[in-house]
């Protein structure tokens, strides 16, 4: 659906900042999240998890647990039929089969009349493990002597094809030109190696669901997820159910950030309920969330870039190694594609390796794969600017991609807003504020593709002229408010006369998961289409009432009006008036849309951050943070700004504190928020934002997704700032106080020795 050519400006609803429709429920505690669902006769489910990083499961004896009074069902691998298709990895991750592949891997599950009984029963399950050697480090996992995690895994993407199994699932390569010639033409070449640790999305609400399967095989599931249609289809497939026999309702969601785009406990809860014949509630503890849901990859990255003396990049080369846990599918291909996506570089070569380790299967995390690659590339770009004695934003502007540039990953860009974004950052007052001692400023930019996807909405006009809009994309960032605004804009009615709900899977056609920054773009476009269909029907109804041709009626400011020379002089009919007459003029009025949204239009961001580094403790304080990002068109500017700020806040944690720490035994050492430190309000200044609007030609209002791009630049921007504040180049994340202090002290000792 292309950008509207007839100027709709000024918008009357889009671009305003009304309160979100779910706000009161959330601040009063009335909103129902995953663990808030209950049912009569409900049992409590608990999962037994492997204490070993890698172990063969010789046998599981649950007889003592089954005999405990109050235990109503036990499920193990034997309750899930094995399969050999694209769902196998999901199945094996949900419930271990021949081997436990990581600390926390599910091995068995209990449904009992209380949590106390369920916990007692877990302790009675006897699992006979043969402990195997393990590997949790990405570089070590690639060695030829590393323990094999999946014994038959052959590396894809090699020519000639690989023949021996290894922990490398795939090799990816992107690029064009001749990098050696590019480096030969450079006046300055810098090559650096970087490492980042795995981080968790850190959503406040743990995974939770309530499953109920009746004796006739019909099931219902209430679940906290980013995609209840995906949950329905996946669970039905794993449990051998007809899709139509499973109805899934998405609860309110306390954060997802990509981590709730797959299933973990849901098939287990359904299997327990089916076996017990009663509803089963399953809620992960925080420890389980860390050990057994999906964090992002840890990485090892090498970047080499060349630049001419006048500041043009001549070549860019990168090698990325991402571990994605015990299964293939790390986002290294996306990291490779996004590495140099901000820059017009004639010679590019990026190679990525998807590596298995004995860690939980990674899940998407906001712009999956891109922040780590940007951390490395943008760090080198800053060093190049220093070597050239050039302003770092100016160097980026000199090389920025624009419409018509061939991207580093292949296709030619259409209309994009990187240059506008960089200029907005450079012009911001923040960029010229003087810094004090031990303070530093960093900048970085970032790119994300943005996606559309399968989408279905239904818009119903009520008898009182209000509108009920049903969407199928869980609201993880204020999207219901944006849907209301777009429907109100099209219909010409007030924002609060539209109510948007997230409908269950039996009420709408299939909707893809809420991911890829797609909802305001795709569900929004579907809403616009459904509203335009509704307007057409409203005009038809008015024409019938007036007895004039349909094409003699126009819709203006929420009213049908006769138009044209032979239309006649009728007073306008409002939406409310047409709705009131609907029962006697043809019945209900509704608009629908089901389509596959494409051409989402990428988004770019530029971040500026000032830090203060305490040279006695190594602690970094974020003094000021400013984000400029292209939103195409901000439908609800406050929630666009919230997405910008949220990405930066998570990036601050990733850069400064967050990390998965594994012991020599392969067990996660810090599965809780006391030892895994995410930023809290007192760690962050008010994050300033500039919304840049370069319209996306693939959306009628020009909307681009905004949810993911904002987490791409912060790791690099903060590392560049800390490096500027200390004079030490930091190439490993997180830059936690002990690490920063050690680097400062090492430099002190080195200087003292000289």
């Amino acid at each position: 659906m292309p950008l509207d050519q007839t100027a709709r400006t000024p918008f009357t609803k889009v671009g305003t900042r009304p309160l979100r429709p779910d706000g009161v429920d959330k601040v009063t505690g009335r909103a129902r999240f995953g663990a808030d669902m209950n049912a009569p006769g409900m049992l409590i489910g608990k999962i037994l998890r492997s204490p070993h990083a890698h172990a063969r499961i010789r046998s599981i004896d649950a007889s003592a647990a089954e005999a405990l009074p109050g235990v109503k069902a036990v499920v193990t691998r034997d309750d899930f039929a094995d399969r050999n298709d694209e769902f196998r990895d999901v199945l094996v991750n949900v419930m271990a089969r021949d081997k436990a592949l990581y600390d926390g891997h599910a091995v068995a599950a209990i449904a009992a009349t209380s949590a106390v009984v369920a916990r007692k029963a877990l302790a009675l399950i006897k699992v006979d493990y043969e402990v195997l050697p393990h590997v949790t480090d990405v570089e070590k996992a690639m060695r030829s002597d590393a323990p094999l995690i999946q014994e038959s895994l052959i590396t894809a993407g090699l020519d000639p094809a690989a023949t021996k199994p290894s922990n490398v699932a795939a090799r990816h390569q992107f690029g064009h030109g001749d990098v050696e010639a590019g480096f030969a033409a450079a006046n300055v070449v810098i090559e650096r190696s970087f490492r980042t640790e795995a981080t968790h999305q850190g959503y406040i609400e743990p995974h939770a669901c309530l499953a109920s399967v009746s004796s006739d095989g019909h099931g219902e599931l209430w679940v906290c997820t980013q995609g209840h249609f995906m949950v329905r289809d996946t669970c039905a497939t794993l449990l051998g159910m007809d899709i139509s026999k499973l109805r899934v309702t998405a609860s309110e969601i306390g954060g997802g950030f990509g981590g709730k785009t797959t299933v973990f406990i849901e098939p287990v809860a359904l299997a327990l309920s089916r076996k017990a014949g009663r509803p089963v509630k399953l809620v992960m503890s925080r420890s389980e969330v860390f050990r057994a849901s999906g964090p992002t990859s840890s990485t090892s990255i090498r970047v080499k870039m060349g630049v001419s003396k006048d500041g043009r990049f001549t070549a860019g080369e990168a090698e990325l190694k991402y571990q994605g846990g015990a299964f293939k599918g790390s986002p290294v291909d996306l990291g490779a594609m996004t590495s140099f996506a901000c820059y017009d570089v004639e010679n590019v070569k990026v190679v990525g390796y998807d590596v298995l380790t004995n860690r939980p299967k990674q899940a998407a995390y906001r712009a999956p794969g891109a922040p780590m690659a940007a951390f490395a590339v943008e760090g080198v770009v800053n060093e190049l600017a220093q070597r050239l004695n050039m302003d770092p934003l100016e160097l980026r502007l000199k090389n920025a991609v624009k419409e018509g540039t061939r991207s580093a990953f292949g296709p030619t860009f259409g209309p994009i807003g990187l240059i506008e974004t960089l200029k907005a950052a450079k012009a911001h007052p923040h960029y010229s504020v003087p810094l004090g001692p031990n303070q530093g400023r960093g900048v970085a930019c970032g790119f994300w593709f943005n996606f559309g996807g399968q989408t279905c909405v239904s818009l119903n006009v009520n008898i009182d002229g209000t509108v009920a809009l049903a969407v199928g994309t869980p609201d993880i960032g204020g999207s219901r408010a944006s849907m209301c605004l777009m429907a109100a804009e099209e219909l010409g009615i007030e924002y609060d006369r539209v109510r948007t709900v997230v409908a269950d899977t039996s009420s709408l056609g299939y909707n893809d998961v809420t991911d890829g920054s797609r909802v305001t773009f795709a569900s929004g476009m579907a809403t616009i289409k459904a509203a335009r269909e509704t307007v057409k029907k409203l005009c038809q109804r008015a024409a019938a009432i007036w007895g004039i041709p349909e094409d003699a009626v126009v819709w203006e400011e929420g009213h049908a009006r006769p138009a044209g020379p032979n239309a006649g002089a009728f007073p306008p009919l409002s939406l409310r008036e047409i709705a009131a007459m609907a029962p006697k003029t043809g019945g209900p009025i509704a608009g629908h849309c089901e389509f596959n949204a494409e051409n989402a239009g990428p988004s770019f961001a530029a971040h500026i951050v000032d830090v203060d580094v305490d040279h006695e403790t190594g602690r970094t304080t974020i003094l000021r943070y400013t984000i400029a990002q292209d939103a195409g068109k901000a439908v609800h500017p406050s929630y666009v700004e919230g997405q910008f700020q949220g990405g930066a806040a998570q990036g601050v944690g990733w850069a400064l504190n967050e990390e998965y720490i594994y012991g020599a035994d392969g067990r996660l050492q810090n599965p809780g928020f006391l030892d895994y430190r995410i930023p809290v309000a007192s760690d962050l200044p008010m994050i300033d934002t500039v919304i840049v609007e370069v319209p996306n030609p693939g959306h009628p209002y020009g909307v681009r997704g905004v949810g993911e791009t904002s987490i791409v630049p912060p790791l690099a921007a903060i590392a560049n700032a800390v490096s500027a504040a200390t004079g030490i180049r930091f190439t490993e994340l997180p830059m936690s106080p002990p690490k920063v202090l050690r680097a400062i002290e090492e430099r002190r000792m080195k200087l003292a020795a000289e």
Binding site: E86, G157, L158, D159, A170, R171, H172, Q173, F174, G175, Q201, F257, G258, G259, T261, P331, D333, L334, M337, K349, A364, Y365, R366, A367, P368, F409, G410, P411, T412, F413, G414, W448, F449, N450, F451, G452, G453, Q454, D515, G516, S517, R518, N596, E598, N599, A600, G698, E708
Partner: protein, 81 residues
Amino acid sequence: MVQVRLGGTLQSYSGGQAAFEIEAANIGQMLTALGEACPRLKPLLEQGVAVAVDGAIYRGSLLQPLPPQAEVFILPRLAGG
């Protein structure tokens, strides 16, 4: 006739060939023809890929028309968070 270009990884399944001239009216026809021209690629194409047509990325629209002389790039299947 459209020119279809493969990223570096996919070239390892095409014997190093980076570009193909293909007669196809839409993305589905193009992928079918590409799979026939290069059988090692076929399983990957069937698993799902993204296709960039004149810079616009399509992830699931086999019926999307291909304008004559369009620039077509085959990319890995893309996912977001």
